[in-house]
């Protein structure tokens, strides 16, 4: 590890500025919760504080992103590349949406406390750490900080057995998977002698470790651990129960934020650290992607609860993102960033709609509750239709979702080792997904209101409605003219060691600096 925490012109404090602001802000919100009187007003104020903290963090990250990378940043424990800033932007977008949604949801569900927004900020700190570090130990720290906060958020609604059950399930299985992750990291360290990702790839190339049993064992355990975090089949069993049990805003946070952060870290480890061993992990990623896409979409078909359906759909989306990872190219990196943005917007939007429709009553998130929504709340139904079509990857009406799929497919097909079969599995799985996404639309637009259900408490959507409007607008505008988002995703480069190092001479070629396409200077 770098003995000095000085990177050229920037010290560690500056490099970690967003994380520091977030964690200090989280503690401030906690302190506020101690001294403020209990009640709805202070809950609201705590949420507003958290929103301000998030905005300040975003500003600091934007400021850092515009600086040129400091000397030595290419190998230090903290990354300073476009990929980090892009992931940070997507995560903070998800955090903002969650906080706004939670502010109004918690009032409706009578969850008055200042701690939830603080926990969201802590989780966000973990996520930022996760996407920003190039050091296995820091990545582990980030995962733990994120997961522990989310476990608590899942069980926030103590009056509801489902929430507690979800939290316990998530906690037990999550800890179990963390064990795998840690063991995997230990094995990888044992094989390569380092926890620093760039040093790791150099070690693998230099000592020709790509087929080393210790490294492969470590990678296998890393795959298990990350598959759990991103909810890839067959490590997805927790997802539907936890998504259904958790309070809706935090389900959205899990679906959008956790997935983006875990995927970014996964991609960084695989591309930056384990890139030279591509031949060894490629097949595992391939299989994981294929099975996840198919199983996620098929199981989503039979769900009656929309939160559960979105849980399975989020599993399927993990599969699509795994396709981008399998491509192992800079195109794949851009695809992950672009996809994460489109997916975050659509997911946060869809859960916002659900939180308004259910009015804070968790049982009221079934398909039957959405029946006839187009008559009672046409704008809400139209927005939900846009989100569903976006998740389906439908052009124009689904906006950006189409270009997200396009980007992933492009990454798969233009990869150094083209993944055409995987691309075809992806599109066929998408056809299956059409049935349930359109099922939501047909329920809203083509079925009468279910008179047997007592109408849910009407919630004035106010700010949550604003989030929905912004998400719809961004999705639709970027769906017709995606160039700004495309070039933004393109700038999010990730240092990558080429993965075609299959054997001796190829490995030597890969070592030559001219062969690596997108290494930062």
């Amino acid at each position: 590890m770098n003995p000095s925490f000085q990177f050229g012109s920037l010290d560690l404090g500056t490099l970690l500025l967003p994380e520091l602001i977030l964690s200090c802000g989280a503690m401030l919100v906690l302190l506020y919760g101690v001294f403020a009187p209990e009640g709805a007003a202070s809950t609201r104020r705590a949420h507003l504080m958290a929103i301000v903290v998030t905005l300040v963090t975003a500003a600091s990250a934007a400021m850092l992103a515009n600086q040129s990378p400091p000397l030595g940043a290419a190998t230090g424990p903290l990354a300073f590349d476009g990929f980090r800033w892009a992931s940070v932007a997507v995560i903070l977008l998800g955090v903002l949406g969650t906080l706004v949604m939670a502010m109004e949801y918690n009032e409706g569900a009578a969850l008055t406390a200042a701690e939830p927004p603080a926990l969201v900020l802590f989780a966000a700190t973990g996520m930022l750490l996760l996407v920003g570090s190039r050091e296995l130990m820091l990545i582990f720290l980030g995962i733990e900080l994120m997961s522990l906060s989310i476990y608590v958020l899942t069980g926030l609604d103590r009056s509801r057995a489902g929430s507690a059950e979800a939290a316990l399930k998530y906690f037990l299985l999550g800890s179990f998977s963390t064990g795998f992750l840690l063991y995997g990291m230990a094995l990888v360290y044992g094989a390569t002698g380092t926890t620093n990702l760039p040093e790791m790839s150099t070690a693998i190339l230099r000592n020709d470790l790509a087929a080393d049993p210790l490294l492969i064992g470590g990678m296998a355990l890393l795959f298990v651990g990350f598959s759990f975090k991103v909810a890839a089949v067959p490590f997805h069993m927790w997802t539907p129960d936890v998504y259904e049990g958790a309070p809706t805003p935090y389900t959205a946070f899990m679906a959008a934020g956790v997935k983006t952060a875990a995927f970014a870290a996964f991609a960084r480890i695989l591309f930056d650290g384990l890139g030279p061993a591509y031949a060894s992990w490629h097949y595992a990623a391939w299989m994981l992607a294929a099975v996840t896409m198919v199983v996620g979409n098929v199981l989503a078909l039979v769900q009656q609860n929309v939160k559960r359906m979105l849980a399975y759909s989020s599993i399927a989306h993990a599969g699509y993102l795994l396709v981008a990872i399998t491509s192992h190219s800079s195109e794949g990196v851009a695809a992950i960033v672009f996809y994460a943005l489109a997916y975050t917007l659509a997911t946060i939007g869809a859960f916002c709609v659900l939180s308004i429709v259910s009015g804070g009553i968790e049982k009221r998130t079934t398909l039957a509750d959405l029946a006839g929504l187009s008559r009672t709340r046409p704008a809400l139904a139209a927005s939900m239709a846009v989100f569903m079509l976006s998740l389906l990857g439908f052009p124009v009406a689904g906006g950006m979702g189409f270009f997200a799929k396009w980007f992933v497919l492009r990454a798969a097909i233009s990869a150094p080792a083209p993944q055409t079969k995987l691309a075809i599995i992806l599109v066929l799985a998408s056809v299956v997904s059409a049935a349930y996404y359109l099922g939501v639309i047909s329920t809203m637009f083509m079925k009468p209101v279910d008179e047997s259900l007592t109408p849910a408490r009407p919630v004035a959507p106010r700010l949550t409605g604003g989030v929905i409007a912004v998400a719809v607008l961004l999705l639709l505008v970027l769906g017709v003219y995606p160039s700004p988002a495309v070039s933004w995703a393109r700038e999010s480069t990730l240092p990558m060691t080429p993965g075609r190092a299959l054997s001796g001479p190829a490995a030597m070629q890969a070592l030559a600096p001219t062969e690596s396409p997108s290494v930062l200077p």
């Binding site: 187009s374 079509l389 439908f394 052009p395 124009v396 009406a397 189409f402 799929k405 396009w406 497919l409 492009r410 097909i413 233009s414 055409t420 691309a423 075809i424 599109v427 066929l428 998408s430 056809v431 059409a434 049935a435 359109l438 099922g439 047909s442 637009f445 083509m446 079925k447 003219y481 995606p482 160039s483 495309v486 070039s487 393109r490």
Partner: protein
């Protein structure tokens, strides 16, 4: 297509932009119109929509006359990263289809009884405008990504029109339609990405040159061609991908059936699949498969049409048979057969469109329009009866009507290449006369069942719409040459392009340089 700057002229370009912009912006406008309770049938929305579609039709007519010959072009940068450009073109192949679309949509809205739209009328009209924009976009696009966007854009309004304003089984028919079409179009998406990454762009000319410049291997060409062909033929409901069509056409509102009768799929075959993958186009196996599917379509469609319970389904299967002729003509790939295929596409749009509107008018008057509960309608509705007979004859391809010219040219142009198949297809022409005349006889003549209520004949509005169709049917039947002249140049360009690629690549092998 040649895109020299000399051909860029402002007038056609503006018209093409307006052809997309008017229905697209109009759709948002109509959706945002105030919805007072007193106006349950959305008469304001209806009037605005008819006005906008009238403008669209006028623009399409103007475009027909101001595009001198060859092509006109609009070209703006769009997504530089994918090599995609916002590029529109009007060619001899697209102009007739643009004209057809604009007029069919306008007439369909006028023909639909305003009181039949009982709920959410503004949304209904907004979706129609969106659908019009989507279909026009398919014909105007000169960039594959833009084409794909419009191709998919067409699905959503149709899904809602069939599901929300269709019969009770509408939602199911709509879903089947979307899922069927998506299987094809997503396979097409993979092919689009494969060829655009190989060629480095998505405009038609870049992609068409890719094959000539040998950027696509023969295997890639055949696989991509197959993906496109599946997408296009599913959308036009060729055997064996046809099962969604009769449901969608008879469960949806008449307007959706008319829109489904516009053959965007076979247009895609001519403009995209053939010129972009010339090696696949001339591959003997591909030819054999396509032409056989076409003839099977003709025979199967005709035979199944014989046993349908109502006239709408008969017409659905008749259009499946028409599609068989189109596919036969395209796969034979001679100048006559291609002309014939284009004419069948055009005329099937007119005759089946008119027929669906007529049958929609009947359904307004009679909830139950199965053959077994009908009879002797000609006595009660003489004008309706006369029109049905005329449309049925045009559908069957009687000389003097528009249906004759296209089918005749297809059979003539394909005979040299597929003599046996052409003979088989001729049986289809005879069968068409049989199923149509039998259907006419059961509906219009014979004893009237006691259960059938009294029905009025067509109103002035309805008759006025139908008069336009009658003029088109007889006009195109007697004098198809203006349309043919329009298409001539584009068709010979298409044939030359495929032949050029064939001679350049097939024997020489690797040498693709210096072709342009």
């Amino acid at each position: 297509m040649n895109t020299s700057p000399a051909e860029l002229s402002a007038m056609p370009g503006l018209i093409m932009m307006a052809l997309l912009a008017v229905p697209l912006c109009g759709s948002v406008l109509v959706w945002l119109l105030p919805r007072p309770d007193a106006d349950a049938h959305g008469s304001t929305a209806r009037i605005v929509t008819i006005g906008l579609l009238g403008i669209t039709a006028a623009l399409a007519t103007t475009l027909w006359f101001v595009v001198p010959s060859g092509t006109a072009l609009v070209d703006y940068p769009w997504i530089a990263d994918f090599g995609a450009r916002f590029r529109l073109a009007a060619t001899g192949l697209s102009l007739p289809m643009i004209l057809l679309t604009a007029f069919l949509m306008l007439l369909s809205v006028i023909a639909t009884n305003p009181t039949s739209i009982t709920h959410r009328a503004p949304s209904y009209y907004a979706l129609i405008l969106l659908l019009t924009a989507g279909i026009l976009g398919i014909f105007l696009a000169a960039d594959l990504l833009l084409f794909y966007l419009c191709w998919e854009l067409m699905l959503i309004p149709l899904y809602f029109l069939i599901g929300v304003w269709g019969s009770g089984r509408g939602p199911k028919a709509g879903l089947t339609f979307v899922v069927y079409t998506m299987i094809g179009s997503l396979l097409m998406l993979v092919a689009v990405i494969v060829i655009s990454t190989a060629a480095g762009g998505t405009t038609y000319d870049v992609l068409r040159d890719a094959a000539v410049r040998n950027q696509l291997s023969p295997t890639t060409q055949i696989l991509c061609f197959s993906a496109f062909a599946i997408a296009f033929l599913v959308k036009s409901a060729l055997i064996p991908f046809h099962t969604w069509l009769p449901d969608a056409q008879s469960e949806g509102p008449p307007l959706a059936a008319v829109a489904l009768g516009i053959k965007v799929g076979t247009y895609g075959m001519l403009v995209i699949a053939y010129p972009m993958f010339p090696l696949a186009a001339v591959d003997p196996t591909v030819r054999m498969v396509l032409s056989s599917l076409g003839v099977i379509g003709v025979l199967y469609g005709s035979l199944v049409a014989l046993v349908q319970p109502d006239f709408r389904r008969v017409i659905s299967y008749a259009s499946i048979a028409h599609l068989g002729f189109v596919v036969l003509g395209i796969s034979a790939f001679s100048a006559e057969s291609l002309q014939g295929a284009m004419l069948v596409m055009l005329n099937a749009g007119i005759t089946t469109g008119g027929m669906f509107l007529l049958l929609g008018m009947l359904r307004q008057r009679l909830a139950d329009d199965r053959f077994e509960s009908l009879g002797g309608l000609a006595k009660q509705m003489p004008m309706f009866g006369a029109l049905v007979v005329l449309f049925a004859l045009a559908n069957a391809g009687l000389p003097g009507t528009n249906g004759f010219v296209g089918e005749f040219l297809v059979l003539l142009g394909s005979f040299n290449r597929f003599p046996v198949l052409v003979l088989l297809a001729t049986i289809g022409v005879i069968l068409a006369a049989a199923y149509l005349l039998w259907a006419v006889q059961r509906m219009l003549f014979g004893p009237t069942p006691d259960t059938m209520p009294e029905v009025r004949d067509l109103s002035g509005r309805e008759a006025g719409v139908m008069a336009v169709f009658v003029v088109a049917i007889i006009g195109l039947g007697l004098a198809p040459s203006p349309v043919q002249r329009r298409m001539d140049e584009s068709i010979s360009l298409l044939i030359n392009r495929v032949r050029m690629a064939e001679t350049l690549i097939a024997p020489v092998g690797m040498n693709g340089e210096g072709t342009r």
